[in-house]
């Protein structure tokens, strides 16, 4: 009997082609807009054209006159049902439909429900809203002015625009390090507002059935169980009568985590109309009203010895949260996991102070391809590292290497309290430097300079915390951050697996089966994976923050192991030996003393339903709720070379190398796909993708003509390398990977451009590093701060 080849049957390490592709390539995916229910009505939202204004009056009478209009929702109507406001993920409140005033451009004011979406749109156009404009606030520095208008006058006791303050670290210890430092490097940075912008916008189909009192909501959500809990609490409906179905999702990237007013309105509309109600957001609605990412300023300081050893770091952040504090983040942390910055460096003392402000911009603060602000943390870190290396006069690669946490320092407690547990940082850097040809490039750069060409090389190295919980420290609105998997092995050895996560392109239908295959030897093609239906899937926290593999993936392995433990008893029974005499090889139990005598996992499955021993419960299934002991800590080293055209400021990527250590790779093909996607978003953020506002609070970047996403044409090619340090606590040694490239990538590009411009006396150009900003910096020899085109005195 030859052992099974794990790769051939689609286990861990197999670049198995994706099973979900079969429907997608035929145009048979089932996305939210593909859901059609009998008698379904359509809802459209009327949004505020102004950023800050008091609502004087709303006249909906003309909308009602349009044939086919079935219902019109206003804030006043919502108020009578106690639904005008809803809780946010950060213990604030957010208006569902505006009652008193509008607080950002694009805020939801009315909804029209009609026989088709065109009529619903006509209905919105027929509504007249009279506004009394108020002065808008478009950045946190305006918000903190003493005479600034108070945006959240709805909140009792709110006397200014401050939305939160938070501090972490050892202030006095850090001060002492700074006092004895030889060199202090300072940098002021801005990470501009961005939008995750999945191509598919948000939407829902709410279906309240009065005869059964059951509410079914199809919804673009990355976390269906959290939504079920939120709907139960907000709409005061019994949780067991709520079914949230997250259909195929056309990209999430954090944008589809929060509860948006459109979802709530479609639910109320379905209850009022006694019919299913579909709401599909348009692109502008998505870009101007749903969860943004970033929008944060940093004052950072690094204290060093003159040989380059870092002694301490101070970070002061000033963040812009928009009209409502609805950041998606674990409740203990007010600026997400910003304090995971510098986790890959050995630094004795660190301190962070954070303050956040309300402004007249869309709320959100979502973890855009990111674990709760780690993208900002790692960008600030790597920009500060490069500036510090320059200031102390040490080569940027060497500076990183000398300050890295070393391989034998693990487990390592960072000064901000995180516990990193594994990694080979120096090795990753070596692989990257070799691949990019670091030493050759320095020669090439010097040669090029003689001929008037400007070249630069940027490095970004980082480890980041992926896979929240553990539940001791991580919860959202009090719900602990664990995850789940339920495995049922059928009589014939085929299986169905359900988890509390929700794939949005990550390929769970393919990769989860591979974990079961690894654990049980059941071929991956014999395992059906289902997610996204709260009536059938076990409770889980959903998919975001690269937590699926670290948490739900671990639950898949643990559920499989529980199944295997029972299968072992069945095997002992079938083989007529005691359990202790049974050995396991992939897919098969055998008698230790007689390896030819064995039973396959499939035979055990059959026995579980047809020939179980006396006293044993029938069936072969189990469930695991997995609470991880720690986060996982992947490491990445991204290195990029660029050439700048000094006449136009255009910069081109010459070569990009990515080295990722995400531990054991379940499906290398999918992992590389995730990395390339993340790198493209990193490139986008460095180069072109940002949302800004004019002085009136008009959103610049409200459609794809203004909000630039890279196409195949401008996107560079990616060269990927791998280092593998298994995660010591994850059942299969895996670490999160989905966001690493988007988190660590931006600094590589910006550092490359800054490296190129060092000789011009330029220290910083804030993202996006647009050609005109580069040209201006070169031509006038000064730094470029803030987000274009709005600039304030404070910037």
């Amino acid at each position: 009997m030859t052992a099974l080849d794990e790769i051939k049957i689609g286990g861990i390490g197999a670049s198995r082609l994706r099973v979900e592709d079969d429907r997608f390539i035929r145009g048979k995916g089932g996305y939210i807009d593909d859901v059609v229910l009998p008698g379904m009505l359509h809802m459209e939202i009327l949004r505020s054209p102004l950023a800050h204004a008091r609502i004087v009056s709303i006249d909906v009478s003309k909308a009602w006159q349009i044939p086919g209009v079935r219902q019109v929702l206003t804030g006043e109507m919502m108020e009578t049902r106690n639904l005008a406001w809803m809780p946010t993920l950060s213990y604030d409140t957010q208006a569902v439909l505006a009652t008193d005033k509008v607080r950002f451009q694009g805020q939801e004011v009315c909804c029209v429900i009609a026989d088709d979406p065109y009529i619903a749109r006509d209905g919105c156009d027929a509504i007249t809203v009279e506004y009394e404009p108020l002065p808008p606030i478009v950045n946190p520095y305006q918000a903190m002015e003493p005479d600034a208008p108070i945006i959240r006058d709805d909140k009792l006791g709110q006397v200014d625009n401050l939305c939160m303050t938070w501090e972490v670290g050892d202030k006095e210890g850090t001060d002492r390090q700074f006092a004895k430092a030889d060199v202090i490097s300072k940098l002021h940075l801005h990470y501009p507002r961005s939008h995750p912008s999945p191509i598919e916008c948000c939407g829902s189909v709410a279906d309240f059935n009065r005869s059964t009192s059951k509410l079914t909501v199809y919804m673009t959500t990355q976390a269906p169980h959290i939504i079920r809990a939120a709907v139960a609490l907000v709409a005061e409906l019994p949780e067991h009568m709520i079914r949230i179905i997250s259909p195929d999702i056309g990209g999430g990237f954090g944008n589809k985590v929060p509860v948006y007013p459109g979802y709530v309105c479609s639910i109320l509309a379905s209850i009022l109309c006694e019919a299913p109600v579909k709401w599909i957001e348009d692109k502008t609605g998505n870009l101007i009203s749903t969860g943004f990412g970033r929008d944060i300023y940093l004052d950072g300081e690094v204290a060093m010895r003159k040989d380059g050893k870092i002694l301490g770091v101070r970070m002061y952040t000033t963040s812009d949260h928009g009209g409502f504090f609805s950041d998606a983040q674990p409740s203990k942390f007010k600026i997400g996991l910003m304090h995971s910055a510098f986790a890959c460096y050995d630094i004795p003392n660190t301190y962070m102070g954070a303050r956040g402000y309300y402004t007249n911009k869309a709320p959100g603060g979502v973890a855009y391809r990111c674990s709760f602000r780690v993208t900002e943390a790692m960008f600030f870190q790597e920009r500060m590292i490069q500036a510090a290396a320059d200031d102390v006069g040490v080569d940027q690669a060497e500076f990183r290497r000398m300050n890295f946490v070393k391989d034998d320092d693990f487990p390592y407690r960072t000064a901000w309290g995180f516990l990193t547990d594994s990694g080979q940082y120096g090795k990753c850097l070596d692989v990257g430097l070799k691949a990019i040809g670091y030493d050759d490039f320095q020669v090439q750069k010097a040669e090029a300079k003689k001929r008037g060409r400007i070249l630069g090389l940027g490095i970004s190295t980082m480890t980041e915390p992926l896979g929240a919980g553990n539940s001791r420290e991580y919860d959202i609105l009090g719900i602990k951050m664990f995850d789940s998997a339920e495995l049922r092995v059928h009589m014939t050895g085929k299986a169905i697996l359900r988890t509390g996560a929700r794939t949005q392109g990550q390929g769970h239908e393919t990769t989860w089966a591979q974990i079961v295959t690894h654990e049980l030897g059941i071929p991956a093609e014999d395992i059906l994976v289902e997610e996204g239906d709260t009536d059938t899937a076990p409770f889980g926290m959903g998919t975001y923050a690269s937590r699926s593999t670290p948490v739900a993936g671990a639950a898949v392995a643990m559920a499989s192991r529980k199944v295997k433990a029972k299968a072992r008893k069945l095997a002992a029974h079938l083989l007529e030996v005691s359990e202790e005499d049974v050995e396991w090889e992939l897919g098969r139990f055998y008698v230790r003393s007689s390896p030819d005598r064995g039973v396959t996992i499939q035979e055990c499955a059959m026995a579980a339903y047809s020939n179980m021993p006396d006293g044993m419960e029938p069936g072969l299934e189990n469930i695991s709720y997995y609470d991880p002991p720690n986060l996982t800590w992947p490491f990445a080293c991204y290195i990029c070379t660029v050439e700048i055209d000094p006449d136009t400021g255009v910069w081109d990527v010459l070569h990009f190398v990515g080295v990722d250590d995400c531990g054991v790779r379940i499906n290398p093909m999918i992992v590389e796909g995730q990395i390339m996607g993340g790198l493209t978003e990193a490139y986008a953020m460095a180069n072109m993708q940002f949302i800004t506002f004019d002085a009136e609070g008009n959103c610049v970047g409200s459609n794809y003509m203004d909000y630039l996403l890279p196409t195949a044409w401008e996107t560079p090619g990616w060269e990927l390398h791998e280092v593998c340090t298994p995660c010591p606590h994850h059942p299969i040694g895996a670490k999160g990977i989905g966001e690493c490239a988007a988190v660590g990538g931006p600094a590589a590009f910006v550092n490359a451009v800054m490296d190129a411009l060092k000789d011009y006396g330029i220290r910083n150009i804030d993202m996006p590093v647009l050609p005109d900003r580069v040209w201006e910096a070169i031509t006038y020899g000064h730094d470029i701060d803030g987000s274009p085109p709005v600039k304030t005195d404070a910037e």
Partner: protein, 173 residues
């Protein structure tokens, strides 16, 4: 299309004009009464239930709604259904022949050219038009040829490989 009966919830508004059009969709003649303002994308999705054509951006940027109109790629979110009267429209549903996948579909699966799958139908239709014009494209040709279609998941590198894969297979057929 005929049906035994059609129920109207309200008498149709007298001032809404409609037009009867005949469109050949994936080779099949479809005769439908439409409002002149109905977009081709919505005509395909709602009237004909061909939901493989997606709408992403409404402004002709993302290309998810790309279909072939008389063999040429158009973004169906900015074409009116009435403009297609008497013309041929091909959608993603028309790519495969019965159970046999088109080489472009095979290429996208084989080279991991999709993740969430939302842009994929438009990407594949644009690729079809590209390969019809240029059966032996370079990587650069493909990147330029697909620059009217956005993807947020893949970073394009595997999409380029998918189209190269399909081109090779189609040349050898």
């Amino acid at each position: 299309m005929t049906s035994l009966y059609e129920e109207f919830r309200d008498p149709p508004a007298a001032n809404v004009p409609t037009r009867r059009i005949q469109v050949y969709v994936n080779g099949e003649r479809r005769t439908v009464e439409v409002e002149p303002r109905l977009l081709l994308a919505h005509f395909l999705r709602q009237a004909l239930k061909l939901t493989g054509t997606h709408t992403g951006c409404d402004t002709t940027n993302c290309g998810c709604c790309t279909v072939l109109l008389d063999g040429l790629p158009v973004k169906s979110c900015t074409v009116f259904a009435v403009q297609c009267d008497g013309r041929q429209v091909q959608t993603v549903e028309g790519l495969a022949l019965a159970s046999e996948l088109h080489p472009i579909q095979e290429g996208f699966k084989d080279e991991h050219g999709l993740q969430c799958g939302f842009c994929t139908p438009g990407m594949m239709m644009a690729s079809k038009a590209l390969l019809a014009e240029n059966p032996n494209p370079t990587e650069e040709d493909i990147r330029w040829g697909l620059s009217g279609n956005l993807c947020r998941c893949t970073g394009y590198q595997n999409i380029v490989k998918s189209v190269l894969w399909a081109a090779e297979k189609m040349r050898n057929q």
